[in-house]
């Protein structure tokens, strides 16, 4: 059988399949459907320094081949995570990656610092790209300076362990942001986060979401995500993690051909909670059908 393991900096994943933050809860929710230990890793909910209630309902609306969400980083804060959730989920042998958000640079750094102590957290993914919070979030992700300064602060608060920075697609040149983040010592970039969108109920003449705008995810965004992964993979030397609309194994391979070393599965978990396992199966099958002995061979090979 082909080698599926890939490296994200010093982090060795058994296979390229990760889960996307905010779409996989804390992993536990999917235990009835999949073998979590079989995942390359799992990225859990966006975590912030302090607890956040998130945005008002309605937070979700379906769109053609996708959905808009405006969850707004609801979570109980990093300390609650460390005390109550971490002890519960560290039983999984798969790599646990925590997604980190913040309203300002200090929050990001402090959250990262507190997570640094946890042995079973294999890496953090810093979300500089959330379109659903008023302060911070996406603002950092849309300028090279903003992206660089968050990365710099987190890097020094979170030394020696793998640091992934998650990029916003809502920019003119995502490759420039990626280069800025690489220059500050990120070990990897993941992309894309959601694309800012909006939907209106024409009968009631008001937006579907309480926040008016929200983040678009799902297969609708896949062509944009693949293009961005391809652009970024050509621009940086660090490994790229690709996501955005991956619904099945074919889509996952598409991202790897475009240049992704690993991939994340997001919205697809809502449609089929067992999709991650099927993607791993497909990768094995794809490699054997194509006579590929090591999946690393196909990364960026188009």
């Amino acid at each position: 059988m082909a080698n599926l393991s890939v490296n994200i900096g010093s982090l060795r994943l058994n296979n390229p399949v990760l889960t996307a933050s905010g779409t996989f809860g804390y992993g536990e929710e999917f235990a009835p459907f999949i073998d979590i230990n079989r995942l390359g890793g799992y990225i859990i909910k966006g975590t912030t320094l302090n607890a956040r209630e998130g945005n008002d309902y309605p937070r979700m609306v379906e769109t053609p081949s996708g959905m808009l969400n405006a969850v707004g980083l609801q979570n109980k804060g990093v300390d609650y995570f460390i005390e109550h959730i971490y002890p519960r989920i560290q039983v999984y042998r798969s790599h646990l990656i925590v997604n980190v958000s913040g309203a300002n640079i200090d929050d990001y750094a402090e959250t990262a610092r507190r997570l640094h102590a946890l042995d079973r957290v294999s890496a953090i993914e810093v979300n500089i790209s959330c379109p659903n919070v008023k302060e911070g979030g996406m603002a950092f992700g849309t300028t090279t300076q903003g992206a660089a300064s968050v990365t710099r602060a987190v890097r020094s608060a979170y030394p020696d362990k793998p640091l992934i920075v998650k990029l916003s697609p809502n920019v003119t040149s995502i490759a420039d942001i990626a280069k800025a983040v690489e220059a500050e010592g990120a070990d990897s970039v993941s992309l894309i986060n959601t694309i800012m969108g909006m939907s209106i109920d024409v009968e009631r003449r008001r937006p579907h979401l309480s926040t008016i705008t929200g983040g678009l995810s799902g297969p609708a965004v896949r062509p944009v995500a693949v293009r961005m992964v391809w652009q970024v993979a050509k621009a940086v030397k660090i490994p790229v993690i690709g996501l955005g609309g991956i619904m099945n194994g074919r889509d996952a391979i598409e991202f790897m051909l475009a240049g992704a070393t690993a991939i994340e599965i997001g919205t697809a978990n809502f449609i089929d909670p067992a999709v991650t396992m099927k993607v791993i199966d497909y990768m094995e099958d794809y490699c054997s059908r194509h006579g590929i002995s090591d999946i690393n061979e196909i990364i960026g090979c188009i």
């Binding site: 905010g22 779409t23 996989f24 809860g25 929710e29 999917f30 009835p32 459907f33 909910k45 209630e53 998130g54 008002d56 309902y57 309605p58 937070r59 979700m60 609306v61 379906e62 769109t63 053609p64 081949s65 996708g66 959905m67 969400n69 969850v71 609801q74 799902g218 919205t267 978990n269 809502f270 449609i271 089929d272 909670p273 067992a274």
Partner: protein, 256 residues
Amino acid sequence: MKQVKDFTIIENLHINDCYSRMTLTPADGAPMPEMKPGQFVQIAVEKPGVFLRRPISINDVDYSSNRLTLLIRKAGKATECLIGMEANQTLNILLPLGNGFSTDAPAGSRLLLIGGGVGVAPLLYLGKELKSKGFNPEFLLGARSAGDLLELEDFRAIGTVHICTEDGSEGIKGFVTAHPALNSPYFRLYCCGPAPMMKAIASIARDKAVDCEVSLENMMACGLGACLCCVEKTVKGNVCVCTEGPVFNIKSLTWN
């Protein structure tokens, strides 16, 4: 244990243009998982323009025949497609989801199950369960008109049924909130229906200090507590309707 399973449609009975009652059985013949009244399922609907699964209440369960019954109202593309499906077709279903209604009460308690429109769906299975636990559940069912009263005979087979229709074509004319049955002393009210109706019932229950459970229909994506899209504001803050609900005691809600 939650699972994703293919089900075969045994019958899809068109009650009228807007409703159907669908009976299903697992395609692989395996016994269905245990389900509680008030829980729901998430159905994958193969139709252009439908992306997410759709949540539908468990209307009835028969373990002996290994059958699940759903009551579906045409609300848009997905439900229209479901109503148009035929026997022998297959549906992929995620189930069972959510918490379910409380079915414990002091022996002999009077329990009123209030449903509006397709909101009667979870009350059939709840009524049967309560009856099997020795209670004599009563029903208060409301609809636009007589033709929208669903599964009336099934409800009558369980207990007393009080009826309201907006056009007066059956039972008392008006909304359920105006029905005299509500003046009787109940131990608990259960309610499922349009939000304004549930809020009105909740307010009556609060006034009378009667225990009251409502079943919410917030928009859902995952149904598993993973996406945090379906939240309702409660005294504990925002909680997921798909896992901590859909049934809530009105005491925990912030309706006022």
